[in-house]
């Protein structure tokens, strides 16, 4: 499966639709999020036409995440991280850490080599760069991590603190609706791994207004792996095996799939081995 929003999404389109998408959607919408130097170091980035202006007069600011990162990532990641979305702040934020305490300058600026997607960056941040497997303080944690190794279960699946924003039913020009949710299922990029999924609000007629039918809509699911930013050391899943192994709490089920969604969604339903 390809990486990068544009490359992945293109799988849903015919050759003719790809051209329309480039012209009427990508340039006017997707690319408008991409920041320049000044958007992070001199003024806050313009989001949805809202311009908050200079960060601190005409000074060059090294970092001020709440006035820069927070604006582009203010729909999901940032308010989930600070707890403003659902009252569950991330353990790293609780201890005074901000975006760039985990996400390095290299990760943000790159090294001059064009990349197809941020997920392909070698120096992308991961939990295990700081929390080395085997360095756990208790035998219980060591054993739990050994059994649920990252190939089978992502860190997020166990350590996401609670519900996060899921957006539904997006239509060009009309936006989408959102509500809190918590979904565990197979990672669409690595089907053997259980992880936190987030609903991507693209529905069959999202781009109808611009003449895109998405002829290959069912090639991609409506749920995608998500690095949810409300991490907790202990959760109902880390405290009690039954939460997943007996109750199967928050696991994606057939009856919960979004109506009229992609046929690929069913592949993400996780069943325990009998």
């Amino acid at each position: 499966m390809p990486y990068g929003l544009k490359n992945v999404f293109a799988e849903r389109l015919s050759a003719k639709e790809k051209k329309i998408f480039e012209e009427k959607v990508f340039e006017k919408s997707c690319r408008s999020c991409h920041a320049s130097c000044g958007d992070c170091h001199v003024k806050s980035p313009v989001v949805g036409g809202v311009n908050l202006g200079l960060i601190k007069g005409h000074k060059f600011i090294k970092r001020d995440e709440s006035k820069t990162c927070a604006l582009c990532h203010g729909g999901r990641v940032y308010p989930e991280y600070t707890g403003e979305y659902n009252g569950i702040s991330d353990v790293h934020y609780q201890k005074g850490m901000m975006c760039m305490d985990c996400h390095s300058i290299k990760e943000i600026h790159g090294d001059g080599t064009p990349q197809l997607a941020r997920k392909l960056l070698e120096y992308k941040n991961t939990c295990t760069k700081c929390h080395k497997p085997g360095s756990e303080k208790t035998d219980k944690a060591k054993e739990a991590h050994r059994i649920h190794d990252e190939g089978k279960v992502s860190c997020f699946a166990c350590h996401v603190g609670g519900e996060y924003r899921n957006c539904y039913n997006c239509h060009v020009g009309e936006g989408s609706t959102s509500k809190p949710g918590f979904i565990l299922g197979r990672n669409p990029r690595a089907k053997n791994q259980l992880t936190t999924l987030r609903i991507v609000p693209t529905v069959r007629d999202t781009f109808k207004k611009v003449g895109i039918k998405m002829e290959n809509f069912d090639k991609l699911p409506n749920y995608w792996d998500s690095a949810v930013h409300n991490i907790k050391k202990r959760t109902d899943r880390t405290r009690n095996c039954d939460t997943c192994h007996t109750e199967k709490k928050n696991f994606l089920k057939k009856e919960d799939l979004i109506p009229n969604g992609s046929r690929a969604n069913e592949e993400l339903i996780f069943e325990f081995k009998k």
Partner: protein
């Protein structure tokens, strides 16, 4: 002459109050002057509960940042609840708190919520079994206004050795409060509109107050500039509502267990009331259960 002497003694007492309570020798309300002089006291743990970005921009030297919402979490659909015991232990250890630590909570003081955030964190630490937890009078807002030193340097914290010993005597749950109606003094610390039942927050299921409660708003603790009122004034306000018997059981509550920490703190740590609990679940919990008695459109 005698009258002048009395006035002088009163004045001196009032000044001393900002530094010392008469509960014991430890200062529960720390003045900015005292804190500046004691910044390098190795027993002092200054916990800044403001948001990480504002802390990073400017904070009191030697203070550490542990966000308010780490101490008062959302749990079982309720706001401002105690963390689980093991999580609370982790927070205390990672804040570098030792057996003999003197802890000072620092927040902003621009509004009543920020002011009682400090007392709520203090209550949580007392619940954990600590006994020397103070709040900074006027908070960071006053500190900054007075031009006292600030830094952007982040202090490295060595994990502390304090092991929590839960002090359940200061905690009340719904069943306990129900059994205390008619026996203890139940104190609603919200503003009168909420007590009387003409106003209610959206997430509160029923308007009004716990039947039999009295009203003593936490907003009345503070002056307009976000500092604590004088001991005489606080004592007069409190006595007019909860009486002078310092051994009688008092239970404070509000909507979510945040405002109520204000009077819990003042009654216990400043005025010397010996048996004060806080109903952590408060009206958010009480009003959900329709079998729990509530009264509205009455001051009784």
């Amino acid at each position: 002459m005698e009258k002048a002497k009395k006035i002088l003694v009163g004045l001196v007492l009032s000044i001393i109050f900002t530094v010392f309570s008469y509960a014991d020798e430890f200062s529960y309300i720390i003045s900015t002057e005292w804190l500046e002089k004691n910044l390098n006291n190795s027993d002092l743990v200054i916990i800044d509960i403001r948001k990480a970005d504002v802390y990073k921009a400017k904070h009191i030297p030697n203070s550490i940042n542990v966000l308010y919402s780490a101490w008062a979490i959302e749990k079982s659909g309720r706001k401002n609840e105690l963390p689980e015991e093991d999580d609370l232990q982790d927070l205390i250890t990672s804040a570098g708190i030792n057996d003999k630590s003197l802890i000072v909570i620092v927040g902003n003081s621009d509004n009543i919520t920020e002011l009682v955030n400090m007392t709520r964190v203090a209550w949580t630490l007392y619940y954990a079994g600590l006994n020397k937890v103070a709040v900074l009078d006027g908070g960071f807002t006053k500190w900054e206004k007075e031009g006292r030193p600030t830094t952007t340097e982040i202090k490295k914290v060595k994990p502390g050795n304090f092991k929590i010993k839960l002090n359940r005597n200061i905690y009340a749950d719904k069943d306990y409060v129900k059994s205390a109606i008619g026996k203890s003094t139940i104190v609603d610390t919200r503003m009168p509109d909420f007590f009387f039942g003409v106003s209610k927050l959206d997430f509160i299921d029923r308007a009004g107050h716990i039947s039999g409660a009295v009203n003593l708003p936490s907003a009345w603790i503070f002056t307009k500039d976000g500092t604590y009122k004088s001991i005489q004034e606080l004592e007069a306000i409190a006595q007019g509502v909860v009486g002078t018997d310092k051994n009688k059981e008092i239970i404070t509550y509000c909507d979510t267990g945040r405002l109520s920490s204000g009077w819990w703190f003042v009654l216990t740590k400043i005025l010397g009331y010996k048996n004060v609990k806080m109903y952590d679940g408060s009206t958010e919990d009480w009003a959900k259960d329709t079998t729990m008695p509530m009264s509205k459109y009455t001051w009784k």
